[in-house]
Structure formats: structure tokens, C-alpha cells
């Protein structure tokens, strides 16, 4: 067993693991077919190698800094592993004046051990303000919402570029992605009424194409285009995204029919019912994340750096300047006076 551990602790294996990690990181990140998950292989080798080295390598017992660095590194690996198993990463668009709907969340990644509790989130979206400088240069983002805290009270928070919210253990961060939504009232021929919102593409990224396809409750496919009377974004001046009081119209396009245009409060007759434009809202996209071991990963990384600094101060510096070997500056004041 000890022999096996010693072989596993080989410094040569460390170098092989490091070279393999560097190569696979570059190859995996450049090729979607291979992907970066392949780096798990060299990471696994390095973790086993490091663990075995910590158990068998005697030099760690006499070099505290080196020991702290490698323990810190091992803890970073452990936190990465736990993060991969427990993580959640998703995106959701929430309508101004509307509530968070767990069913609308698009999951990007979910760890095997993640206990999904998104349906417990109670959140109501408020105003969104994003300031732009000339050249469509995005500045500060301020998205306000109310959420039900663990204590049961309803709390209001404004999140932005460097501030996120923690709701039911999930981290909600405002993204650059946001846009307009048209509120639509549908009245079927049977008299049933429904209110909904049609999200338009991200703004101002797609300000030239504010078109979305909607399937009415009666099953008809309709293309709706949001057209502002005057341009909302301005490439040459300061402007703010988030206003909804600008005059606009909604173009309705149905295959094989002439295009119609209706304004706020107007109705249009469609197959199986009548649609009425009730108003304009904005939507905000959030990144939802669950990474419970991230703070510990930071602590472990800081520990590793402290270990490196300690090793540098106690082992590397003293060796480089042994007593009596200092060289007078004049000796090096030139390159040629030899």
C-alpha cells in the first residue's frame, strides 16, 4: 500500500498531470465537441497525486509553507468537486410588475446532488433602469424587486452590476439581457379572457428587430412587432433603458393576410378571438446560481497563497542571499568592466 502511495506521489506524475491539464484546457476550450469537462481527467490525476504526496512526502513535514500551499490547493480541488456536484446555473426573464415563475427558468447546468428549490422562490419584479453613454456603452444597471425572505417578510432590493441578491440560497444576479414586453388581453369567442405578456428580443441589442411570434389561445400563429414612434436608444447621447411611457404601435402580421397596426388600447380581431394591447412593460433577465462552496473555495485559495508566501519568505529568500555572499553594487554597475 505504501509503495503504491509513493508511486502515486511521484513528482514526475505531477508534471505529467500539469502538462496534460494545460493541453486539455486549451484543446477543450477551443473545441465544443471535446469540451472542458475533459479536464476532469488530469485534475483527478493531480488530486490523487497531491493526496498521496501529502501522506508520504517527508519534505512537507519540514516545510510548513509548502504544506499549507498544497493543503490549500487540495481544498480548492475539493471545493471545485463539491461545486460541480451541487451547483445550479440557470436564466430567467421576469416581467416588470410580474412574479417569478420557476417554470420559466432555463437550466444551464445542474449538479447531480442539487436539490432544486426554485419553486419556493417568491419574487415580484419592480422597475429596471440601465444607463447608457454615447456609443451604446452600458453603464450602471439597477433592477429592483421584492422577495420573500426566509423570515417570512417581503424585502425590497436593488441589484446591479456588482450587487446580487440571495433568495432561498440562490444567487440572483441581473444580466445585461433585458427588453420590452407588450401586455396583451385576449378575449376568446367563448367570452373567456386572458392577460399575458409577449417578451420582445433583448434591447438595445436587437432594437432593429423587435419582433416576436405568438400563438394565440385559439392556436393561430401571429407575428407581433413593437414599433416606437421615435427611436428609444440613442447612439450619440446619454439615455436610459426602463421607461415605458413612449408612444408606440404594434404591427400584426399573419401569413397570407395584410399587416395591421394597432396602438395602445386598440384591439384587433384574430381567428377565435380578439387581442387588445394593454400596455408596455420591461423584462429583466437574471442569472440564478447555487454555488454553496464558492466562499470556501476562496478561503482555500487564500490559504494556498499564504502558504506560498510563507514558503517564499522562509525558504526561497534566505537561500538566495546566504550570509557573506552579498555583492557590492559597483560590481554590477556595468556590463563590460570585466
Amino acid at each position: 500500500m505504501m509503495m503504491l502511495l509513493k508511486k502515486l506521489a511521484s513528482l514526475r506524475l505531477t508534471l505529467v498531470g500539469m502538462i496534460l491539464l494545460a493541453v486539455l484546457a486549451v484543446v477543450g476550450s477551443r473545441s465544443a465537441d471535446i469540451g472542458t469537462d475533459i479536464t476532469v481527467v488530469p485534475l483527478g490525476i493531480l488530486v490523487a497525486n497531491l493526496l498521496a504526496a501529502l501522506l508520504t512526502n517527508r519534505s512537507f513535514r519540514t516545510q510548513t509553507g509548502l504544506l499549507v500551499f498544497h493543503v490549500g490547493l487540495l481544498l480548492v480541488f475539493a471545493c471545485i468537486g463539491l461545486t460541480v456536484l451541487l451547483r445550479y446555473d440557470g436564466h430567467v426573464e421576469v416581467l416588470q410588475g410580474g412574479a417569478f415563475d420557476a417554470g420559466q427558468v432555463e437550466t444551464v447546468e445542474q449538479g447531480w446532488w442539487h436539490d432544486n428549490r426554485l419553486d419556493k422562490i417568491e419574487l415580484y419584479q419592480g422597475d429596471v433602469l440601465v444607463n447608457y453613454l454615447p456609443g451604446l456603452n452600458r453603464q450602471d444597471t439597477a433592477s429592483t424587486f421584492e422577495y420573500r425572505a426566509a423570515s417570512g417578510e417581503l424585502r425590497r432590493i436593488t441589484v446591479g452590476d456588482t450587487r446580487a441578491a440571495s433568495v432561498n440560497g440562490y444567487r440572483l444576479a441581473a444580466t445585461f439581457n433585458k427588453g420590452f414586453a407588450v401586455l396583451l388581453q385576449w378575449t376568446g369567442t367563448d367570452g373567456k379572457e386572458m392577460l399575458g405578456a409577449l417578451h420582445m428580443p433583448s434591447f438595445p441589442e436587437f432594437d432593429w428587430k423587435q419582433v416576436s411570434t405568438w400563438t394565440t389561445p385559439a392556436g393561430q400563429q401571429v407575428e407581433l412587432e413593437l414599433v416606437f414612434d421615435q427611436s428609444v436608444s440613442d447612439d450619440r447621447a446619454h439615455w436610459t433603458f426602463g421607461r415605458t411611457d413612449m408612444p408606440y404601435s404594434v404591427n400584426i402580421a399573419i401569413a397570407g393576410e395584410p399587416q395591421r397596426s394597432i396602438r395602445n388600447g386598440d384591439s384587433a380581431e384574430l381567428a377565435g378571438g380578439v387581442v387588445r394591447v394593454e400596455g408596455l412593460r420591461v423584462w429583466m433577465a437574471y442569472q440564478i446560481e447555487f454555488l454553496p462552496f464558492l466562499p470556501w473555495m476562496f478561503v482555500a485559495a487564500v490559504l494556498a497563497i499564504i502558504g506560498l508566501a510563507l514558503h517564499f519568505a522562509t525558504r526561497v529568500l534566505p537561500v538566495s542571499t546566504p550570509a557573506g555572499s552579498s555583492v557590492e553594487e559597483d560590481d554590477y554597475g556595468h556590463v563590460a568592466r570585466a
Binding site: 513528482l11 514526475r12 505531477t14 508534471l15 500539469m18 502538462i19 491539464l21 494545460a22 484546457a25 486549451v26 477543450g28 476550450s29 472542458t36 453613454l133 456609443g135 451604446l136 456603452n137 452600458r138 453603464q139 450602471d140 444597471t141 446591479g160 452590476d161 456588482t162 446580487a164 444576479a173 444580466t175 445585461f176 438595445p204 441589442e205 442569472q287 446560481e289 454555488l291 464558492l294 476562496f298 485559495a301 487564500v302 494556498a304 497563497i305 506560498l308 508566501a309 517564499f312 526561497v316 529568500l317 537561500v319 538566495s320 555572499s325 555583492v327 553594487e329 560590481d331 554590477y332 554597475g333 556595468h334 556590463v335 563590460a336 568592466r337 570585466a338
Partner: protein
């Protein structure tokens, strides 16, 4: 009073001219066998003062630090590399022979700087965090230490090639220079580790991902692995030829240099903020 762009340009041009003189002084010293470090150090001090003034003036005029555009990164890069090398070489005489390598390298960066647009781009909101400062400062320290180590390794390689008496004169005390390479290399490793951690914290607060395998992050990891791998190799193979260690130190600096000055401009999203 705010410094005009025209004055900033003049300061940069004079600084680049001084780097050109430093390069000529170095090669002239090599050919003639005359002392070259002191005049080079004086020229470097002038470059630091001029570029420091240019950065301060630009900072006050634009009301933001040099963090975003290629011009900003080159301006702060030439300033910090010159300052770091000057401080290191003044403190550690054994690395002074490296001026032969740092002078033309800094000159290339300086000439590149004069050819790019000085137009300032407003910083996105995500850049207004102290973690950006920690990330950038540790990055500058890393590259400064790495430059000094690589420059000294280069002249040691030249010495090792035994090209003549002149090559020996570059490092009159090779044992001390050899030790300094690895002290500086280790310091670079610590600073690079701090830069990685601070960058991950910043990226998480700004873009929601502490690590996203974009080209800049991937090549930064490769640089870290090369730093760690080189130090590991020296510890593992005690009989490793000195020259191989120098080549590894040089290769690490080359990858770091390309990561700093090349990759950010092929990778559009990570460091520029999205619309």
C-alpha cells in the same frame, strides 16, 4: 487643470524615444565593452516619470483608470514593466544584465503604443469594484517579476552559449544571477496566483461566472501551470540542465506576454462588458 491629449501624446513620444536611446545604449555598451546599466537606469527613470505623468493626466481628464482599451493596457503596461524592472534591477544588481533584453522589448511595446487609438471608452459598470484593482495590480506585479526573471534567464542563456567574451560580461556573477531568476520567478508565481483569485472574484460579481474557460482565462491558467510546472521541474530533476530551466522561464514569460497583450483583443466579451 486638465492635461490635453496633445500633451499626453508628446509625453508618450518622448518616453518611447528614451526607450529607443536605452536600447541603443545597451547594444553600444555590448559592442564597445563600456558600462551601460547606469545610463539605461536613468533613461528608465525618465520613462517612468513621463508615462506616470501621462497616465495621471489621462486619468484626471477621462475620470477613469487605464483598464479597458488596448491603448490603456499598453500605456499602463509599459509604465509598470519599466518601473518594476527599474526597482528590481536597482535592488538586485545580479539582474542588471537583463537590460539588454528588457530595453528592446519595452521599445517594441512603446512603438506599438504610439500606433493605437488613444480614444477613451467609458468603463462598464462591472469595472467599478475594488477586485478589479487587486486583479490588475497583482497582474502588473506578476508580469514585472516575470520580465526580470526572463530577461536574466535570457542573458544567462547567451552566456551559456559561449558566444565570446562579450556574452560573459553580461552576467559577471552567474551564480547570483541564477539564484535571482528563481527568486523572481517564485515571486511571479505568488502574484499570478493572487491575480487569478482576484480575477475570479471580480468575474463572478461582474458576469456571474468565476470561471468560464474563455481564451483569456484558459491561457492565464496555462501560464500558472507553466510557472508551477517549471518550479516543480526544478525541484524534481535536480540535475536538470541550467539552460533548460532558463528556456522554461523564457517560455513562461512568452506565454504570459501573449496572454496579457494578445488574447484580450481576440476575446471580445470577458473584459469589455456586454451591450
Amino acid at each position: 487643470m486638465v492635461m490635453s491629449l496633445a500633451l499626453e501624446r508628446q509625453l508618450v513620444l518622448i518616453a518611447v524615444a528614451m526607450l529607443m536611446i536605452a536600447t541603443i545604449v545597451q547594444f553600444a555598451g555590448l559592442v564597445s565593452g563600456r558600462a551601460a546599466y547606469r545610463p539605461t537606469a536613468a533613461l528608465y527613470a525618465g520613462v517612468v516619470l513621463l508615462l506616470g505623468a501621462a497616465i495621471a493626466g489621462r486619468w484626471m481628464r477621462e475620470n477613469q483608470g487605464p483598464f479597458l482599451t488596448l491603448y490603456d493596457i499598453l500605456l499602463s503596461g509599459v509604465f509598470s514593466l519599466t518601473l518594476m524592472y527599474l526597482l528590481i534591477s536597482v535592488t538586485l544588481p545580479a539582474v542588471r544584465g537583463g537590460s539588454l533584453v528588457t530595453s528592446p522589448l519595452l521599445l517594441i511595446l512603446g512603438v506599438w503604443l504610439t500606433g493605437v487609438s488613444e480614444l477613451a471608452v467609458p468603463l462598464p459598470g462591472a469595472f467599478r469594484t475594488p477586485w478589479l484593482w487587486a486583479h490588475v495590480l497583482s497582474g502588473k506585479l506578476f508580469l514585472g517579476f516575470c520580465l526580470a526573471a526572463a530577461a536574466t534567464a535570457s542573458v544567462m542563456l547567451i552566456r551559456g552559449a559561449a558566444l565570446g567574451e562579450w556574452s560573459s560580461r553580461l552576467t559577471p556573477f552567474p551564480e547570483q544571477s541564477e539564484k535571482m531568476i528563481w527568486v523572481l520567478f517564485f515571486a511571479a508565481f505568488i502574484c499570478h496566483s493572487v491575480m487569478l483569485v482576484a480575477g475570479a472574484v471580480w468575474a463572478h460579481s461582474a458576469w456571474g461566472h468565476y470561471w468560464s474557460w474563455d481564451p483569456l482565462e484558459t491561457w492565464t491558467l496555462v501560464t500558472w501551470l507553466m510557472l508551477g510546472g517549471t518550479l516543480h521541474a526544478r525541484a524534481t530533476f535536480r540535475n536538470m540542465p541550467q539552460g533548460l530551466g532558463h528556456v522554461l522561464a523564457l517560455a513562461t514569460f512568452a506565454v504570459a506576454f501573449l496572454t496579457f497583450f494578445g488574447v484580450p483583443f481576440f476575446s471580445i466579451a470577458p473584459h469589455k462588458g456586454l451591450m
